[in-house]
Amino acid sequence: MLTTFRIRRFNPESESPQPYFEDYALVTERSDTVLDALIRIRETVDESLTLRCSCRGAICGSCGMRINGHATLACKTKVAALASSGETIHVEPMNNMPVIKDLVTDMAGFWEKIRHVQPWLQPTGPEPEGEYLASPDAMNHLTGVMGCIMCGACVSDCAALEVNPDFVGPAALAKAYRFVADPRDGSGSSRLTALNNPNGMWDCTRCMECIEVCPKGVGAMDRIMTLRAKGIEQGVPSTSGSRHTEAFAEIIERKGRLDEPMLAVRTFGLTNFKQMFSFLPMVLRAFVRGKLPKSGPLFRPIPGADRIRRLFRRAKERP
């Protein structure tokens, strides 16, 4: 099967260091992965093609790159699955990190953010004579998140990082969760308080890109949501993110459905004149078009809202 690979090239030492796309046509076998093909291009067609790889078995996390627009491991992606009808395969370096050359990115920032969440066990109390013990039941739920191979795929495709490079990002937050939820860790709510700061756990936009692209099923965004829940439960200081969540839940409990203007007011705060005022043009235009939602006492609960209230109450009384 003849397959075309459209590869994003970049050489900072060339005379005109601008990225460009170059096409390579290669005969591929059914068993080939994209990594097999890239290595063959480098060995038989163009030795200047630069990529990073090691284990070829989805264990080391070195060959993270974007294939057809999404980050993945090249060694885990079959050519035949993408180009069975002769489609061109697009290969680019990972996003949200600087490119060193061709498909190789600089992951220094990635590691810095991982270090930022203090990814080591911080037990308190006297040191035990043997090892720190935890029951299998208390650790089983962490096996998924411990499967992270630090490939950077989640960071590459994170939509929140695209607009805020200071966001700590999905990989570091999943790593933080791994220690927050470890029964042997003694740092208590101090980790959650640190994660509650700007650019921390509330800066995720919940787009689920990290869940979708992770080659190991870590489910970073689900971990971030659990961190938020734990933060609220342990009473870390409120942010506009946590106020939004709390207000949302209270409105649904009372009315069964969402009172949108009330949610906005309670999230931003009535005294936050500057931000509230900045939305005024939109509110006025919506009013003129007859679509400003009712709010407060004018916003009626759904029929049977008392049943929703009872479900809230009973769900909170955990068995």
């Binding site: 627009g69 939509a159 929140a160 695209e162 607009v163 805020n164 509330w202 800066d203 936009t205 919940r206 787009c207 689920m208 890109e209 869940i211 979708e212 949501m225 659990t226 938020r228 829940a229 609220i232 942010t239 506009s240 993110g241 106020r243 939004h244 969540t245 709390e246 949302f248 839940a249 649904i252 069964g256 459905r257 969402l258 009172d259 949108e260 931003f268 931000q275 900045s278 939305f279 043009p281 939109m282 235009r285 919506a286 078009r289 007859g290 679509k291 939602p293 759904i302 029929p303 049977g304 049943r307 929703i308 009872r310 479900l311 809230f312 009973r314 769900a315 909170k316 955990r318 068995p319």
Partner: protein, 293 residues
């Protein structure tokens, strides 16, 4: 083809033109709807930030009502669809968890057996209504209209919970429908990205940057209009587009249509009946392209 209709909070709140337009188009497709008036909000992924199990209780309540009626659920919101699909996936794949949730429902005399299917309108169009009936309903083909799709995260990810393995055509459902209506589909990378809505509360400049980026990108790829099956995306892309354009110092003016509005135009319905006058970014240019008075 009868469904329990779950309109969602936003079609009854900030985007009434969505509710209005879907009411206009569904009878013309042989669809019968019974609106779910006692179902609560899905939690929209926000309630789930505080308590995932509580969210699953509320959605199991909705799913159980439809199960009692013997009807599949129709949604018109990517977020409602995604949140309910995920809840249904968890309940269907973990019998112990389903039992736990049913213990909460039991005191209301309800049990959920895990049999309700939940489908977004755009999936229903392709899987239940079918290409032939859609083509037959078109009275004013959207010839010459270059339309960019914008799905909303929850209709794209996580693909396992959305049934993409069993129904791979769902991944491109919006584009397929738009092409059937005669529009020229403008493909661009942002179509399956985040609109920025959930970021608005914590990082408004970032959210506005996403709006400006996606709408400008679609325009640069030649789009006259953007079409979305998600009213939350619409709130951001339409409602805050002017603010985003001002902040990013760009001119955008890209009309954002709800999918049933586009469908209604192709059916030859009156723009006002579809609530096109209620979109915040003017839809006049779309009507001019289609030569609708």
């Amino acid at each position: 083809m009868k469904y329990a209709f779950f309109p969602g909070c936003v079609s009854k709140g900030g985007c009434p033109e969505l509710y209005q337009s879907v009411k206009q188009v569904y009878p013309r497709l042989g669809i019968d709807l019974e609106e779910m008036t006692t179902a609560s909000c899905t939690g929209a992924g926000v309630l789930q930030e505080k308590d995932l199990r509580l969210g699953d209780v509320l959605n199991a309540h909705t799913l159980a009502i439809a199960e009692q009626q013997g009807l599949p659920i129709m949604t018109i919101c990517s977020t409602c669809q995604g949140v309910m699909s995920q809840a249904n996936h968890r309940l269907a794949t973990d019998p112990g968890y389903l039992d736990d949730i049913n213990r909460v429902l039991a005191e209301e005399g309800l049990t959920y057996h895990g049999t309700t299917t939940v489908k977004h309108f755009v999936w229903i169009l392709l899987e239940d209504v079918g290409e032939q009936k859609i083509r037959q309903s078109v009275k004013r083909p959207l010839t010459g209209l270059r339309a960019a799709p914008f799905y909303g995260c929850y209709l794209q990810r996580p693909s396992a919970a959305l049934g993409f393995d069993e129904q791979p055509a769902r991944a491109k459902s919006l584009e397929t429908v738009m092409a059937l209506l005669g529009a020229e589909v403008v493909d661009f990378l942002g179509k399956s990205r985040c609109c920025g809505m959930p970021l608005l509360t914590i990082n408004e400049p970032g959210s506005l940057k996403m709006i400006a980026h996606h709408t400008s990108d679609a325009k640069e790829h030649g789009a006259d209009v953007m079409v979305t099956p998600c009213p939350l995306c619409h709130l951001n892309l339409d409602g805050l587009q002017t603010k985003a354009a001002r902040r990013e110092r760009r001119e955008i003016d890209l009309p954002i249509l709800h999918l049933p509005q586009l469908l209604g135009l192709a059916m030859g319905l009156e723009p006002r009946a579809l609530g096109l006058n209620r979109n915040l970014v003017s839809t006049k240019s779309v009507l001019e392209t289609l030569r609708v008075a």
